[in-house]
Symmetry: D3
Subunit: 327 residues, 6 copies
């Protein structure tokens, strides 16, 4: 294994995490019968980078991939979206895949993860190019990464430290995955990382079930900020929008009505939209509006990536999206 | 014509009827312009067998097919779904097809049947392997089969007698098809079959329009049971669920909220789900719940077949289907 | 350039305008990422002709196309729909295309026009076969055609005069396109054409924003009829149906509930349905009902063309469309 | 049943025969497993009309179809190709279909016909609009039509007589189908029709196996012309081209090298190309060249129809087809 | 883990090995860019069972799969092909996948295996239902299975012993995979299994490179038979056909000319065709002919499975496959 | 119009030219009938950059695009392939498209260009970021760019001067397009550019027909080098490989046998492969080998882009491409 990744300019935003191939049947199809699969590329942290890049942020994604056509498939997708792939290419390991079967009520959506044996799980901090972290304005990872393996958790911690030491703002999106670990395991590990984290993103449900927070969203945000000394805590509430406590002040934004085509990745789109505006100098309320709008637009698009434009997000933020044909 | 069908172990459930190829255009497409057709395999009685097999019942399907790639297409599909095809292969005749054009309001769905000349129409009782009927726990056919031809009606009657004589429970799903016969013709023929039928499935509308039943669903079930001595009468009520009179007691179950992708075959899925549970020893109320849940799940899946699992049905029955992504 | 178009019998309805290839991504896809495009053929005036032809009207479409596989693609589509293409084939110029990206709330639908350099823009009245106009019962064009170029506006005017002089009823659908001209430019040009127009179709919004009409739909229709001496003014109101002032009397029709698959071309379908009935001798109220029903059915079908049948429209008009499967 | 077909102008070429939907799996797919079918429209006589229309001939097709979306599908396809469908629409009967499975060596191509019960089989001469036959320059049918049923044979004979009596040149393409009748039956019936036939098209193999002709292609043509008094006999020889005896003179043309995508309909394309040139006034040698070139081009195109242009055929005839990209 | 597999009747042929999902891009597509994947199901030993079942053999396949939609996808495919899946369903592990990228000269075909972590690798002989082995006529596995893991090698050995002890003929197809082990490792392990093997299938190249055989195919077969006491040794020679030494006598069969659509699985189709005939009582020469013909037909079909019929194979064997359309 | 393009690191290779969307029907389909189009992105100069980037070169592409989803589609594709798009985004103009219809013998391939009105045609040297040219090692453009418009020719000349003045090696691929200009016009314009060109790529046919060169490929290369003082002249000869005169020495390389799926862009792949090796320090003979191998691999892949890897090219160069499955 060698950190033989590609050189690039300094990015404002660097994210770190695993990205997979998503394989899904056509609408109404079942994985247990499927003859054709649509391929998308997705991972919480690269999704954030894609959304931010779509809105103008210089973004890079730090990870490991096997040197194979499938590893290149992932890098190709991110590069196309304008995200610099800072990849540790490996001889061993496989590309994670996940099978996603959409399904309406009462079936529900189904995800079959097939992500064992991926190289990020055995990635040593020394294998990662930590240099870009030092030049970046913000470093983001999620609670999925440390859940992958003990090694991945250690590397996540080391990278957060590196960034923090270099004066780079650090952010973590809790993103609890019950198929990877238990709430107790998650809480233990994440609380170990929190001292090096400046900005926390957390879904209201995860805050309750994993971090044992109590009360309404506002109370949750305040108590988490207080308990761990976060600069900012952003609580996402699905259909109910999002709320942030920033330096003690609460900001709130309701959700936008959407015709959902594909909900996967909308939480990441929120984070990407929020960060793009923050990195652009906007205040928290404006960033919340952009996050919510980016998430809503994502839901109208197939795939994990928020393939949107700043102009589209601005139109939603300005309530100028009537759904009419513009001609 | 020779009853040269495949051998197999005894099945709990044997169904008898015609199965066709379903050809449908992509969403928004019109048959009168179509360039591509999706192929599914469906028939009321084999749909019942598929649903029951999906839930763990040993199921077989008795029918006739021409020896051709299209005949094999039908058998292949059922075999894949775990249903034993007990087929009388013929040199003559064609595979029935039906063209299905989905369409929302105000267009409505359109079905063009192309089912003349199929071998089941000239199938003599002597051509059918009646042996499996004798070992089965339950034999089901529908009102579609006797509607196909006088010969098919005679064979349906003979098979019901055979099963009944052997102590196999017999069931009939009225399934009135206005394109095959008039209500009066249907009533005459079906009433001739009723003496050999133990369990009747009937849609509320068919009960009124074909069987001249009156009153609400409850009254209908009671009066049909009384008039023809059925052990059980199950009245299906579409969006309003289903109701059964079993040995004089009424059981009822409301429908489940569904995001419908393809409604075709949901009535058959109900019957399959109901029978699977009954054959598994469950009481009527539990069977109704499983029938309704299987039907609801079917509506989320493209094609005539209820490609569901027992676990999925159980989750719906247990009200544990939130529509959330399970990850 | 030579008016070397195809001969044909006299048509009741002749329309004049530009028709394009429509290229659209699959559902949930984005033009900025697209790998496959569905091809449809559409243009306001040919859409009207297609809808009318579908309902039994002898219809022709007058236009110019380059002699190329793409030009032939357009003619092939219209011919298939039963519309006679009266085409001036040219050596120069291109086929107009437009890219259509469907998208639900809050994204909205997006149209990217790519219609510069089409031969209809430089079409001289002398290049057009004006003969069929003289034998037709009704000649229709739209406000899009004169918006294409000064030459196209002049030719539109000349054709309206020709038709009017020959005793052919003339109709114009305002169809304002903000990407082609400003409201003021549109009003100037259209008002120059109005003296030769008998029947005006106008969306309520266009009436206000382009023609400076005021008041409710009824007032708009009355004032436009009075101001320009139209025989009939039909005001379309989207979800609220349509209203006509005909010889001073007001007729109104509410919209039909629809499950929309593709809204493009539904306004043209309305006009086609309305005209088909009028040309068939029906009174205005019946024509309004057919227009509204044709538009509703169009919305259930992919593509710009109203590939419906008279029987389907009649069922909707007769409120006999229950959405049930007819089998 | 009523001969309620559409009016149209007089056509130079009128053909009579059955046209079907062709359903085929994607390359490498098997009918016995297929999930998707491509739809094409084809029939020997309408294929001839399509090829001739593509090359500029006014062509019409005489047949019967059921009034259904599938019947309209057939008429829509032919109308799009510029062929006037002179259809007797019926309430009864079905649209013929055939399933076509392409397959290379050693599998071979497979056709499954599903053409029973089509309305042309019970079409009475009185149900057919014989008027266009009288104004046409040439009337063509094939040996498939009389093979469909005794009634179809009688109607074929009556139409040939009608055309012949009106001074319309008559042509018959032998087109022997072993799945419809035996060589002896075919010979008997066809020889009954020959007295009313002016031009005979026959594959060399059919001439030998059905018509008992002997010797080489030249001898076959001479002997058939002599035996039945044909004005012209055209013998097609597959890869070896075609040969005609016309008024006692022999003309020959070798085949053109082709990269075959779909061979179905290439014989019909030959006839259409030949007739288009003859009807345009060309001599037999030129017509043979056009026939061979049209057939070769057809083989490069998916589907039964020769969707070619006169310019393309001319380029092949002029040996100006190098296979290079023209840019 | 529990051997909770499905009951079934005794099969003549039982095979044991891993079966995977095959994911492949459309023709000309690259895995490193792919947006859609076609799904097939394949594994050397199940491919053999499918081919034999297609030709009439009662066949079963012994393996392990995780209880997941993807595991069910595999079982569904085999069941559809008429092969009884005798599956040990597990809670742990994944379904193996392999990505297959077809490519002509000079690119070559590319296979990316993703088969780590599959449950067959940790399958204990006690987890396998060994009962069917005892009643079968022939048990087949391949050199791929013992290459998967030490545990899989041990279980393979145990099953061969079980079969052998029960008087069931045992067969092994060497099927060397360089991505799984080295020639030396393969030789060591396979030679340990040979004493329990009656019939050996081996590609000529594998015989040389793995088993160190020398001389021409004939010499190879003789020396392997002599060295290990095989009853029969079948040497496959790709384009040059196949050769068998059976009880000291040599039989040979040349290959059949094919238009290859998909070569994957043709070796397995050979074995399946050969065994089907042998189990049907045919002598070795006839079995070789059927093997070669089945392999040739497989190459004309997309996917790993030989979806052929006995009639098709017989036609090829009888040299009755002309490639002509049969109509 | 503003040169508001994206910043990036210095690239070794910068190319300048127009890139279009390529729209093509599925195999066997015709543009005049097409319902679906596959979208690829291609342009001679960006194709060269893609091929070089695939082989490891830092490559950038200089051009103009309208700010629209289609303009972004082009940039997205190139970015995905690892080429930095140095785009002048404009408010006016359209994205060029070309329709490509593949077709075997005798039809030939057909290209319909639709490239009028693109912003590169009115691009002023001042609108272009000339900075990257100065830092690059090599600047390439083709004879297509100056053929687009007089302004484009002037800008091409200015950029060649800029590069030349900065010491950047300059290369020009003649790439004659008969649909854009005559041989005489091309010769005049190109000869005006030649003084600033160091390396010339020219197809043997273009050398003869456009540049009036005579003799065999060797003579052509010598005479062109002599006449215009080129450092290197590379003559490409299609199936016969390529030949270079470099500093007076001749090097030659035969073509590689290929199974062609899509020939478009293979000439550009040659240039990209050649330059990648040259920029990597290789001598001309090795570069020729890489060019020829890259071109051959391109022909096995759908689309204009050489989506290959250095390892694949190396295998072909090393004659290690056997077409066998590597597993």
């Amino acid at each position: 294994m060698s950190a033989d990744h590609e050189a690039g300019p300094m990015s404002s935003l660097v994210t770190f995490g695993e990205t997979m191939l998503r394989l899904s049947p056509p609408p109404g199809g079942r994985l247990s019968r499927v003859d054709r699969l649509d391929v998308h590329v997705g991972g919480a942290e690269s999704n954030v980078a894609v959304a931010a890049a779509a809105l103008g942020t210089d973004a890079a994604w730090l990870s490991a991939l096997p040197e194979s056509p499938l590893g290149r498939r992932v890098a190709h997708a991110l590069r196309g979206e304008g995200v610099e792939p800072l990849v540790t290419w490996t001889d061993e390991g496989r590309v994670g895949t996940y099978y996603y079967e959409p399904g309406g009520k009462p079936r529900g959506r189904r995800v079959v993860y097939d992500r064992e044996g991926t190289p990020i799980r055995s990635l040593d901090p020394g294998d990662v190019h930590s240099e870009p972290l030092r030049g970046a304005e913000l470093f983001l990872t999620s609670g999925i990464t440390p859940a992958l393996s003990a090694q991945a958790a250690a590397t996540t911690g080391a990278l957060l430290e590196t960034a923090s030491d270099a004066g780079t703002t650090t952010a973590l999106d809790v993103n609890y995955r019950s198929k990877l670990w238990s709430p107790a395991e998650a809480r233990d590990t994440l609380e170990g990382l929190f001292p090096a984290v400046d900005v926390l993103f957390v879904a209201e449900r995860d805050a309750r079930e994993v971090l044992d927070a109590e009360g309404d969203a506002r109370a949750i945000a305040h108590s988490l900020a207080a308990a761990h000394g976060f600069e900012t805590v952003v609580v996402t509430r699905g259909e109910a929008g999002a709320l942030a406590v920033d330096d003690g002040t609460v900001h709130e934004r309701g959700a936008v009505e959407t015709d959902t085509v594909d909900p996967v990745g909308s939480g990441d789109a929120f984070v990407g939209g929020y960060l793009a505006r923050r990195l652009d100098g906007a205040a928290v309320p404006a960033a919340l509006s952009w996050g919510v709008a980016t998430a809503a637009l994502k839901r109208t698009v197939a795939g994990d990536a928020a393939t949107v434009t700043a102009e589209e997000v601005r139109r939603v933020v300005d309530s100028d999206a009537t759904g009419d044909i513009d001609r």
